[in-house]
Symmetry: C2
Subunit: 144 residues, 2 copies
């Protein structure tokens, strides 16, 4: 089953209607390579209303079909999601996002809950840096 089919199944199973607008947004989302803003989606689907785009993105985020990516400047982007809780490594040079397979702060959360006597039920974690490819390119450029 293709990724699109699987998403469509999940949408239908949740009781949401599969409308033309939603399919258009879905297609735009799947056409994006890395992370993107709602404005990017709107640019790809100019016939879709602004409110509908935001509504649909919120729906997709709630269903864990897309996930939110927080950029270093604080702006919020989206990205087709692998399912389940995970974190991102974002290349500041090319914008490419890598998913971290598991949530690597679970141990930290447990330790903190005990030591700080907090009930921790959420966290934000994003890493920023430079991927291998961009680093090699920079090295080559610097050597010239």
């Amino acid at each position: 089953m293709s990724q699109l089919q699987s998403i469509i199944q999940r949408l239908e199973a949740s009781g949401s209607r599969l409308t033309a607008s939603r399919l258009a947004v879905l297609a735009a989302v799947m056409a994006q390579k890395g992370h993107f803003s709602v404005e990017d989606v709107l640019r790809r689907c100019p016939s879709i209303g602004r409110a509908t785009a935001f509504r649909t993105m919120r729906l997709l985020a709630e269903m864990d079909i897309v996930c939110r990516v927080l950029l270093e400047d604080g702006s919020l982007h989206y990205r087709l999601s692998r399912r389940g809780h995970h974190h991102h490594l974002i290349c500041q040079a090319c914008g490419r996002v890598e998913d971290l397979d598991t949530c690597i702060v679970n141990d930290l959360v447990e330790g903190l809950s005990r030591s700080a006597d907090y009930e921790i039920d959420g966290h934000w974690l994003e890493f920023y840096g430079r991927c291998r490819t961009c680093r090699s390119v920079e090295k080559v450029a610097a050597a010239q």
Copy 2:
């Protein structure tokens, strides 16, 4: 030396002028108990221009006098900063923020740099939950 005096010294040492507006913003920042938005500062200093408030907060953030606090909904607040890189534990019930003494992801960053072959030079990390006080209050309320 009081905290205010120390901040004033740092501002002067950086070559920034110590104007009435900046002192007013500083006073408003120090009067806030937890995290706050620029709008909160503006409410406390109604005579200060909007642009000036944003400018001054940016200056204070750059000088590490305040730090940015990312709320779970993605909105950006500020908070009088302990110096140096650190993270926050934010109580969703009362809004209180606790500072985590050290950056607890340094080891993670190092491991990731090696395993993912990334040069990691920044990260966002915030924890959300319920502090001890709020949890006790909830327990009492639930028992009644």
